[in-house]
Symmetry: D2
Subunit: 320 residues, 4 copies
């Protein structure tokens, strides 16, 4: 059995995720968005605003500028779901080339659940102790029996690439897996979702820990705008019943400051130099260079000033 590296996050009974290396972070996202010489902005808080803006408007290419490389060990049935994310680079342990190790996944009692009656891809409700025991017994029996057969055939000299075909998909495998932040966030978005299978979710959650450390603003923005995004399926919940985190409300108010400025300017054109002060008067909090960047971006919509002001008031109320 291989030794688990010290800085790895343990996953399931014998697996792990370890961040081996990374390139760039929040700063690299901002740098690419500005296609500048890496001067950055005066304050970190400005970087955060720009990253949230990029995420909100689905400008994805700057997030591709950050790269992560993980060393992971997981059961084959988990690897089979994982490998479908095709932008990643992978180097996997080969059972043609190397001997299988006697390492199989057996589920914890608490994760042995009934088939969901509503959802054939899901679980629902813990099963009785007796059935739990049977599941664990079966996992152990098939693991031990298949490995004994494998070992015997191996010993007898049968081709390894053939003998391995009797091993079950709860056998552990391992790999190096490298991906960029945009696609990694997409992976985590799908695989840390409550609809994902528990056994891949723990690996996805472990990788999420690395994202939080390497690119905390990008992570936060992803949570706010994609994971908790207002999706169609939640149409019936209604806007006002939705519990929005305070920072999202701040962002909407920021957007409104731009939209109100744009609408006022549209109704009665102002001089170029009067725009930033006008924006500040609407409660806008960006510095002037970022104001320019967003103002020029082509995504500011105009509307009815009164309606937008009322909406702002409602939002402020939601926050308290």
């Amino acid at each position: 059995m291989i030794e688990i590296p010290k800085d790895a996050i343990l996953c399931l009974d014998k697996g792990f995720v370890r961040l081996v290396d990374s390139m760039g972070g929040d700063d690299a996202i901002v740098q690419a968005a500005r296609v500048s010489y890496g001067k950055g902005t005066a304050k970190v808080s400005q970087d955060r605003g720009l990253i949230r803006y990029l995420m909100r408007h689905r400008h994805t290419t700057p997030f591709e500028m950050v790269e992560f490389k993980f060393h992971c060990k997981m059961p084959i049935f988990v690897a089979r779901q994982w490998v479908r994310h095709r932008t990643a680079n992978i180097n996997e342990y080969s059972l043609r080339y190397s001997e299988a190790r006697d390492e199989f996944y057996t589920p914890d009692p608490e994760h042995i659940e009934f088939q969901s009656a509503l959802n054939k891809q899901g679980r629902m409700g813990e099963v009785p102790e007796e059935l739990k025991q049977k599941v664990q017994d079966y996992f152990k029996e098939i693991s031990e029996r298949s490995f004994a057969m494998y070992a015997e055939l191996n010993e007898a000299g049968v081709a390894r690439e053939l003998a391995r075909a009797i091993l079950p998909v709860n056998l552990y495998t391992e790999w190096y897996w490298k991906n960029d932040l945009h696609n990694l966030l997409h992976f985590v978005g799908l695989r840390s979702d409550s609809h994902a299978q528990y056994e891949i979710r723990v690996f996805s959650d472990a990788m999420a820990e690395s994202i939080k450390k390497v690119a905390p603003f990008a992570w936060e923005a992803y949570q706010d705008y994609v994971v908790s995004g207002l999706r169609f399926s939640q149409i019936e919940k209604g806007m006002l019943e939705k519990r929005l985190p305070g920072r999202v409300i701040d962002d909407i108010c920021e957007d409104l400051a731009y939209q109100i400025t744009a609408t006022l300017h549209h109704n009665k054109p102002r001089k170029e130099e009067d725009l930033f002060p006008l924006y500040q008067k609407q409660g806008g909090s960006d510095i002037e260079s970022d104001f320019r960047l967003k103002w020029d971006s082509g995504e500011i919509e105009t509307g009815n000033v009164r309606e937008m002001r009322e909406f702002k008031i409602k939002l402020k109320r939601l926050k308290k």
Copy 2:
């Protein structure tokens, strides 16, 4: 000058889009989703429902099973935006290998507009006749002057790959461009959007015509759920003020039929064979095999039966 093919859709003053070939259509999407032997379903209307369901729940891989190949001719500055869609296969006319042709884009008067004051990526308001004339004159002057220089250098024997560097980006180029439906829809979603530059939008709109013919249900579903999707930026508009097309309301009611059935079943488990009749009683209109498929999919949420029924009533009212 090359002859425009008969079945091409003309774009701008000298460009075109022509569907050269395609593989599969709505039927191929359904076939892949069912991973079956192409038996299909009894009625076309069932295919439509399944496609809409796949689109609504972002199950994208079946849409990758349909392929399109276009022959296109467009100005270089348009090709430069277009080529960023990296999943496509491209064979382009080469100016190292072949001589440039005397074909340049000059904008129509109606599309010569002012820089948008709100949006540096946009246009706003037609310009005076005099300025329009100047723009057209400049386009023609630079096209003619650069081509005369190019022709002269070419004649004098200067390397073609070098001489072409003085040609402007309104020069026309052409290519074969092949992509799958999922990525083509993504292209059209971005490039037929009102924020896209007019000169690429006409090409995107032309390709959209082919999608409508080859995969009409997929096209319709894409419009309803992605293009007109309820996005965060429209948060302030509110659900009830939104003008939903009747077919979207029907889809939501369908979803509600599933959710109500699931909730009832959750509250008081039913026998397997009683589920489909229960669903029909809630107004569900799928055939039994599709009911099974969706029921098993893992995306049906439960809620409060009374609230869902009220929501359904509100929706029906919106429709009339």
Copy 3:
């Protein structure tokens, strides 16, 4: 058990490959290479020459213009190798969503071999009858035992996504798999190679049958220039001992006709209109439009005319 479709090619004991659809063929390759309106050339023999030329000089993009879609059924351990070809689009049967079927791979006696002593990824020499019997018994035992457990857990209501984890990798799965010709040839080049595992080779060979039908010239050229390509590992075999197929010798002679023409022209420049006749005098057999295309391509090298003529003579001798 699902019925095997009639037009499928059977692979292993229960698997198959079936070409569901394709787009384009040799003509589409030539069309893209010419970026023309599909006029094609006068004779099919000219298309063949151009395709061989493109393959020889590694001009890969025209081959991406042809698309294939297969329906395949294979053991999981085969699918695991297959899925690493990342350019393909895949829709696979899901064991979270659907119940596993009782279909497992058991090797034929003739394919049960010893582990290669030289090659841990290979097999070598048939094993004694007794050991063969044991291997088959073990495959059957583990298949039956694991499926019985799976069925029992399933019956008891355990979540399907969990119960499936005790199934071995010789379980059959199935999918729709779509790829372009360039990447499909690369797949077949690797997986029909003698170093590939027997169990994936039969699927690769089956897909090769479809390529031969859909794009016969491309297939032939791939065999001649890539599969039988003169690779470094064969350095020691020497050029003259190599058994070259007659058509490859013809191609080299064609190349030499171009190179001799180019060298003569380099030594003493000719008029543009004299080049094609000069090329024909050297034994060149292309029509004039294809001569132009290749002449302009930038890959014709010059050399010593005498040496090239001598080499041509040696080649002709090799052919007889």
Copy 4:
């Protein structure tokens, strides 16, 4: 005009390439190939041998584990060739969003050449002074005239996205460009080739400098086995006339040590523990763990021991 960063490599008259960041190097390649915990090997010389082995046998995935990010500035016609390498991530300066800068490429006199008579994609022979002057004058005239028009239209308020269409493709643009080592080597292999256009070659050569620093063994192996690889087009040169670098001969001799060992073992099977000493007797210089790795790899061929020994002698002679 933007300031050129200090650590950039200047390219053409106003362009540059700058390595912004990288992840991993030769060690990361070896680490992925071993799928180990980064223990590495005892000696750096062993890493080199393994990397050369991977390159020789086209095991490409470990090279994908190294990542590079560059900041580059180049003319549009160069960017147009560059962007076709689709695996890269790109963030480019936008002429819809930002104003064009007055920066255009004018070729140096020494790079103004005639169209190659042999190769329409190439140049051949310097042109007379007078013609050189004309080329430079034309580049300057079109740059100045088009920029003056652009500036005037811009000043008059014409939409920037439209006005830019009169700018020629010798205008400079800039971007962040990120790619993995495998694909970067492929880029450099094509774009630093003598058939590539001079103007992109200088950028490719500049990036090659970074590869040399970050992954020197991989760079060297790529040169030896891919760039200087024995390709079909050089068939006529003959093996013995080829000037092989000494280190390639050493590698072939290494391969022969394995092949002779394998053949001897095949003719008369040895005990497992006698294989490594036998290999050392044939002149093999790998350490035992690497011997195991390669021995198990499945690529060792057997042959005729006498022939191989003779070939080895011939090779040694070539080296001196």
